[in-house]
Structures are given as structure tokens and as C-alpha cells.
Symmetry: C2
Subunit: 514 residues, 2 copies
């Protein structure tokens, strides 16, 4: 056998052809293997290939500390391990460590190894960039929260303090320990079978969805699902469906922007008291609806409108995209099942844990008509490139052991109490402001007198509130009557701050007769 290894580390000349021999003998002697397989840490140092090893090592270590590359407190590898890594004598490294301790660069403590000393010189020579607002916001906190508002009443967010940490960790532990080895190899794009099986059972039982695990595709949330369907993510860049897409005339601007970026034209569908007027669907290719709880105005889609949407899809070969973003949270009214149950071949059902558990998990699912499964998988790519395996396995366990149901019921109770407090306060202090959309979900809509939305939003900001007005959600081409109002998310503020947040909201509302 001939081994022709190119073996040039930095500063060497590439002429080292001895790799084969060393490879063949290393295991026999076992010395490097022993040092290499220990419990030390890895340390990268560039040493010149000629001259005194000791001087070179001292220079390299001093430079790394002085430049800040090795931060104060960094634990260095044991001298034996570093000597093995660098291929130099152990004594040389031990002496260098001792000298640098004497010089104050390093600190050695019995039993806790050798560390970089704490110093007063700047830790990093890399220019810390001027903090832009975007980067400032992303450093520690979610975007708009870093700058000022005392209370976050923006819609669409569950209470981050209620994430079921203990139960989730227990599910991670069970799921990771029970997983087959292949779970940690390259993953298939459809998502783990364990999760798809658990979801098929749960969605059938709790949401009236009719499906089998073979028709579910796991994704990183609703936005990812839209990208897979209409383009903008996945291997090919192109999506599975084309526009024009009918959308409710009030909805998330972010979704419209996402569709616009994929060159999909959106056509606004008027809303009335019974929800989207699906009887007016025409030549669009698909319609995106939030039937359980219209977002953001808050009503469920009337049974006749649900049927009309499915009839339209059957007659025209169209598709209904069902955004079931908060279907679990209903308070006073009977559960509203998924439209998907009416015709699994004509409805794409989309859900996620973003409202029920946390938007930070990035876990969602698509329940697809049979004829779309292969297309979506093709767009998603040969391998799973997005959703991590541990969260997928953990959610499967979380669903199967009943933790998901328990969490949803506990949160439903908590959110309903918050909703009730909000409604009571408004009844007392602003009886002229109608409240809608409160039978379900995590937000209410406070209808405002014509012309008062901008000034009320200004007053709300003045009161330290972060929230949105209905105008932000209106499709730019909407022809239905203008609605003015506040969209008030009541799930997010910490429990102790909620009464004050409601007070501040009441104080921001326009007086009667304005």
C-alpha cells in the first residue's frame, strides 16, 4: 500500500509523507491514543516548524492570551494532552505552563487545572461593532421588547413563563433514550414517524382531522409551511402551488409579505359576522382561511361558509389552506372542528406548537391531501435540513403521555381568567367599547369609533403598551368596510403585571362620545 498524504500544517512544507507508517503504528503503541482520548479540552496553537519548541510555545500562548483569543478564565488542556496534540515533549509544555503562571498570564489551582488569568486589558481585539438597533434587539430579547414598552399586549404569543419545562425535559429524556440509533443519522424530510403517528392520533381526537401519518409532513412552523407550498425555501426554491391565493381581508401582514416574496398574488376575501365570504370565491387557485378563530377579528367560520369553501374547492379543483393557529384555546363556545374533516383531499391543514407551547420551539406540521405529499417532500429536499430530531421525538412523547392535553387545559383555564378580567375591566371602565373575538384564542379585538384608531394607538404607546391596531392587518386591496380597533393579546404579560397592563389599556381608550 502506498500512502500519499498531504500533511502540511501551517508553516510546514507539505513534504511529510510518513502518515501511513504512523497510522499503522499508532494503535500499537497507544501513547497518543491514550492522551487523545482523555477528558481534556482542545486548544489550537500555531507553532513555527523550526526553532526552539519551548520558545515557540511560550510565544504562541502569550499571543493567544494577549490578543484575547483565549478569554480570561478559559481552561487550558492538561499539559500531557497538549504535548500529544502538538507532538512535543511533555516536560516542555509543563515548563511553559509554569513559566506563564509565574509571569501572571495563567493561573494554576490544585485540582482545577490551568486557566487564563483574569486581566484588566481588553478581552477581545476583534472590534466589537457599533451596535445597530437590529443587533441590539437581537442580543438578549425579542425584537420590539427591548425598547421601552412596559407591557407587551401584542397578539399571537403564549405566556413564555408557562412553558412546561419539567414535563418537556422529561419527554426529551424518555424520547432520546428510547430512540433507535438511526434517529441520530441523516434524517428523512417527512419528519419522524413517531411524531407523525402521535400527531395523527391527536389531531383526529382533538381537532376532528382525518389523516394518517403518511400524509403528515413536519416543518419549522406556519411560515415554513407557506414557503414549502409557495416557494422560498427547500431545495428547489419553487413551491408546490401557484397563486392567485384568496386570503381573508384581515390577516397577518407577515404572511402576505412572505407570499409576495414568492411572487404569489393575494386576493382579499371580504369578512362579515359569519366569517370569510367563501361563497364569493372565484378563479383563485386556493384560499387561506383561519376557520376556528378568524385572525385577527376573532369569529369562527360559519358552518355554511365552511361547506361553501369545500364545495368551491371541489368544483374548481382548488385547495383550502386551513390555518389552525390556536384551535385548542376555546372558552365559552363548543369546539369548532377542522374544515379538513369535511374533505381531506381538498384541504391542507396547518398547525404548530407556537401558540400551545412556545414559538421558540420551531415545530409545525402540514396535513396534506394525498396528491400533494410527494411534491412537498420533493421541495423539502432529499434530507431534513430544518427541524431537529430531539424536539420531534420529545413532542411525540409529550403528546402520547398526555402532557400536551394537560398543558392545553391548564393554559385554557389561565387564559380564560385573563380574558374574563379584561372583559370585566372594560365593562366597568369603557362600556362604550365593543369587545369581540373573545370566545377563543389568545387575543381580543376592541372595536373603536371611526377615526380614533391612530390616536388610541398613540395613547397606548404613551401608557407603555406594545400592541397593534386593526389597520396593520388589513389587506391593501380590501374593499370591505374599514374596521378600526385594537388587537389585544392577553397571554404574554407576566401574571403579576397583568392587572396593571389592563389598567393602562383602559386608560388609553377614547372616552365615550369621542
Amino acid at each position: 500500500m502506498a500512502v500519499s498524504e498531504v500533511n502540511s500544517g501551517p508553516g510546514t512544507d507539505g513534504s511529510d509523507g510518513g502518515t501511513g507508517t504512523r497510522a499503522g503504528t499508532d494503535e500499537g503503541t497507544g501513547t497518543r491514543a491514550g492522551a487523545d482520548g482523555g477528558t481534556g479540552t482542545d486548544l489550537h496553537l500555531d507553532l513555527p516548524s523550526t526553532g526552539s519548541r519551548r520558545a515557540a510555545l511560550l510565544h504562541a500562548l502569550r499571543s493567544a492570551v494577549r490578543s484575547g483569543r483565549l478569554a480570561p478564565g478559559t481552561l487550558l488542556p492538561p499539559y500531557r494532552a497538549l504535548a500529544a496534540d502538538l507532538g512535543i515533549a511533555r516536560n516542555t509544555v509543563a515548563e511553559a505552563y509554569a513559566e506563564l503562571v509565574a509571569e501572571g498570564w495563567l493561573v494554576a489551582r490544585q485540582g482545577s487545572g490551568t486557566r487564563v488569568a483574569e486581566r484588566t486589558v481588553p478581552a477581545s481585539p476583534v472590534r466589537v461593532p457599533k451596535r445597530s438597533p437590529a443587533r441590539e434587539a437581537s442580543a438578549r430579547k425579542p425584537a420590539a421588547r427591548a425598547r421601552g414598552p412596559r407591557f407587551d399586549l401584542r397578539q399571537g404569543q403564549p405566556d413564555p413563563a408557562s412553558f412546561p419545562r419539567t414535563a418537556w425535559v422529561a419527554s426529551v429524556r424518555r424520547a432520546v433514550n428510547a430512540a433507535p440509533h438511526e434517529a441520530f443519522g441523516p434524517a428523512a424530510p417527512q419528519g419522524r414517524i413517531e411524531l407523525r403517528t402521535a400527531l395523527a392520533e391527536y389531531l383526529a381526537r382533538a381537532r376532528g382531522v382525518r389523516t394518517s401519518p403518511e400524509r403528515i409532513v413536519i416543518c419549522a412552523g406556519f411560515a415554513h409551511a407557506l414557503r414549502l407550498l409557495f416557494g422560498g425555501a427547500g431545495g428547489s426554491g419553487a413551491g408546490v402551488l401557484r397563486g392567485p391565493l384568496a386570503v381573508e381581508e384581515y390577516g397577518l401582514a407577515f404572511h402576505r409579505a412572505l407570499l409576495g416574496a414568492a411572487a404569489v398574488r393575494t386576493v382579499p376575501l371580504p369578512l362579515d359576522e359569519q366569517g370569510a365570504r367563501t361563497g364569493e370565491l372565484g378563479s383563485e387557485r386556493a384560499v387561506l382561511l383561519s376557520p376556528a378563530h378568524q385572525f385577527p377579528t376573532g369569529g369562527p367560520l360559519h358552518a355554511e361558509r365552511r361547506a361553501a369553501a369545500v364545495d368551491w374547492a371541489r368544483a374548481r379543483g382548488g385547495l383550502v389552506l386551513e390555518d389552525d393557529y390556536d384551535g385548542e384555546f376555546r372558552y365559552d363556545r363548543r369546539p369548532v372542528g377542522a374544515v379538513q374533516g369535511l374533505d381531506p383531499e381538498r384541504v391542507v391543514y396547518l398547525g404548530s406548537v407556537s401558540k400551545s407551547l412556545s414559538p421558540a420551539l420551531r415545530l409545525g406540521w402540514m396535513v396534506l391531501p394525498d396528491h400533494l405529499v410527494d411534491d412537498v417532500l420533493r421541495v423539502k429536499g432529499e434530507r431534513e435540513a430544518w427541524t431537529g430530531v430531539t424536539d420531534q421525538l420529545a413532542l411525540a412523547d409529550f403528546l402520547e403521555c398526555g402532557s400536551y392535553d394537560r398543558h392545553v387545559r391548564r393554559m385554557r383555564l389561565r387564559y380564560r381568567r385573563r380574558r374574563d378580567r379584561l372583559v370585566r375591566a372594560l365593562t366597568e371602565r369603557a362600556p362604550h367599547i365593543p369587545v369581540t373575538g373573545v370566545a377563543a384564542g389568545l387575543h381580543a379585538v376592541l372595536r373603536l369609533p371611526p377615526g380614533t384608531e391612530p390616536s388610541t394607538l398613540k395613547a397606548a404607546r404613551w401608557q407603555g403598551l406594545a400592541l397593534d391596531g386593526l389597520a396593520d392587518f388589513r389587506h391593501p386591496e380590501a374593499r370591505g368596510p374599514l374596521r378600526e380597533g385594537l388587537v389585544v393579546g392577553y397571554a404574554t404579560p407576566p401574571e403579576h403585571a397583568y392587572p396593571a397592563a389592563v389598567d393602562a389599556l383602559c386608560a388609553a381608550l377614547p372616552p365615550n362620545g369621542s
Copy 2:
């Protein structure tokens, strides 16, 4: 206050205006709240709004079981909870359960609740689709593994059986329990500060990278990083950089396809014994290199070539993209530090846990020049839409508590033993076949005599081996000399199967003099 709630569940007429009253009084009585907040499961049933409640419930439950929507074994909610959900009398539900048990639809066991009976009728009315090859493959196993080969020697995959489950779960537990509440709210696109801080320290220490946490952006792996840089993912669809992009003339076809989909022209850069000929860089905007271990041919980039790449970037305003895909795994030679350390303003450093821990975690990072950070964040979107928070926090803990170093050292030892066994076997049985690229990484390249690669691959398939030939990696416009060979990943086969895999490989090689 006026409450104008649209309250039409399926089958109701939308005229129920009493929500406000109920909202106001529910908390006072507490009955529904108590039932709702219990530990039951959720069950969705559609009941008509008129007629006998009991008959309607019986019909709805029978239909749900008969249709397969409620699978055999499914646990039903306690009758109290279902009664509260449906707004009907408890006795009615209890009687309906009893009747369905008597009819054999349900089974009740003391202490374990009421479940759907096991039956012999088909469980799902939803047509289980014909299994396409793509869907078959994705059902349980990674793509090509489901169909036949006895041994997987494809490159680029770590040993899935060695995923450090116990240590990882311990890190998840510590990290999730220690996280602030805001960690479970909407996430900023740059990634958790805990992880960026831990990575900045680790990459400086182990890989010679010079950075600060502010310049690191977390992503879902190398492919996601390419998409963020060149387009194809994130909010805007457009990337940060433009082509043409110089690439090594041997590399992953998947990466070239990804760049092609983003309309980025790739220009092949010739390779020789010292690695990519960076001195020949011209008017390209950027160059993508794998300096620690050229992929797939296996050598490190010579020091002069490293310097030449950085000099070119400085002189032309270009960028070096450094793919450090397996820099942790080096065996015989001294560590090769990151090119990024030469000039953090001209090098984008890209890494992930896909080789060191598992490709199924979907966790990677970009270390960016200062001037690119805001652009990449803008492309990634206002909020994190991809990488889950628990894995980010867990990896931060895993790095900080030393588990990452321990795991890498353990795997380095294991992979080196596999590498040595491969080299020994080839020395004995195929001394005419040169082995290259074995000083580091998870794969070796076996150089083959001219004209023998296709027939050797055929023989390898005949031996039950899954592996790739060098031709698969060659850029279609490459002008350098054709190389023929096998790319042999030695990390993936289970420990017990590895000797047999090596035997099969030796048996597939062309005889001396062919």
C-alpha cells in the same frame, strides 16, 4: 360594554349573542373552569344544535369510531370533562359511554378510563396512499439505506450509535431549567446569546477563530448558511452575496446544486498536492474552501495557499468562505487552525454539529465579518423561524461543561482506530491502491487506476456497499486532471459490522495490474 361575539359553531346559526354574559359569570361559578382545567384529554365531536343530546352524542361517537378517526385504544376524556366541553349534562355523557361500552364500541376498565375498543375493521378510511419510493424511504430510514446495501460507507456521516445521549439530555435539563422566561417567547434571528458566547470561546480555543458573540449567527446547518448568504431562504428570498463563486474542483454536488438554484455561477478552482490553487483566483466575488481537510480529496490547504486566499480577498474586496466541516477530527498531524484567524474581516467561517454530534440536530453557525452581520440578520427575518431554542441552549451548556470536548476526543480515538483498521487491511490486501486524506476527518480516498472507477463502484454495490466515487464530486467544468477513486466513509457502520464492511471493500477493489 357591548360584546358582539360571532359564536357559531358548526351547525349553529351564529345568533348567540350571550358570550359577554357568560364570560362575565363563568369565573364566579367556576364549574366549567374546574372541569376545563382538569387533566382530561381533548376530544372533538360535531353535534347538531337541535334534537336529543343523547342521540346526537351516541351518533357522533359511533361515527368517529366507525370512520377510524378515533383509533382503537384511544383514551376518551372523563365524562365530566366531555360534558363540560360540549355544554350538556354529565349524566347524558355517562349514559352514552355506558351504552357504547355495552355495544362493544368502547371498553371501560377500572382505573384506566374509557377507551376505543380494538376492532377488526380497517382503522382508517383515509386512503393510505400507494407508497412511492420517496415516501417509503422517508417512513423509517434515511434515504438510500432502506433499499438493500449491507454496509453504508458513504462519506460525511458520524456514527449515529455514538450520539452522547446521556450527556445531551443532562445539558437539555440544565439549560431548560436555567433559561430565563423570555427564552420561550418569540426568538431573535441571531440565535441565543448563551450559545453564541459559548461558541465564541470554544472556536477561539479549539479552532483559532477570532470573534465575539456579536458576530456569530446561528443557523440550521451549512446548507442553511449557504442559502442565507446566496438566497433561497429567509424572509426576503434574496441573499447577501452574489456570484460568481470560486469552488474547489472537487466538492459536494448538493452544494453546487443549491448555489445553482440561487442563480449563483460556480467556477472550479484546480487542486494539487497543496490543496486549492488560490493563487489563480481572479475576478470571482468569493471563494468557498475547505481548508482544514479538503472535501473530499482530504488534504489540508498549504500555509502559502491560505495566505494567498486572504491576500486575494484583501486586494479584490472578495470574501473567503471557510467550510470547517470536520476540523475537530485530526489524527496524526498537528491541528490546522481556521483561515478565519488570518483576517476576520475577509473570511466567513462556517461550522456545525453535523459531523461532531449528529446531522439530525440541525445546528450550525456562521462567524461573520462585521460588515455582513446586519445583512445576514435582515435576510434571516425579523424573528428566528428555524432553529429551536432547546437545542441552542443545550449546545451552549454542552460546550461550557466540557461535554463537547470529551465527546470529540472520544470519537477521535474511535474513528482513528477505524481508520487504522482500514489502512492496515488495504496495506495487506490491496497494496497497489494508494490511500489519501486519512490524516483527519471521517473518510478516506482510495485512488483507482484510470478507467476502473465505474467497474469498481459496480463491484462495491455487488458486495453490498453504499459508497460514492470521486466522479460524483467533480465540478462539471473542472479542467484539472481527472481523478478516479472511492470516497470511503468509515464512521457510519455499527461497530460489529465494520470488519465485514472493510472485507467487502477490499473484495471490490480492482486487482493489481488491472
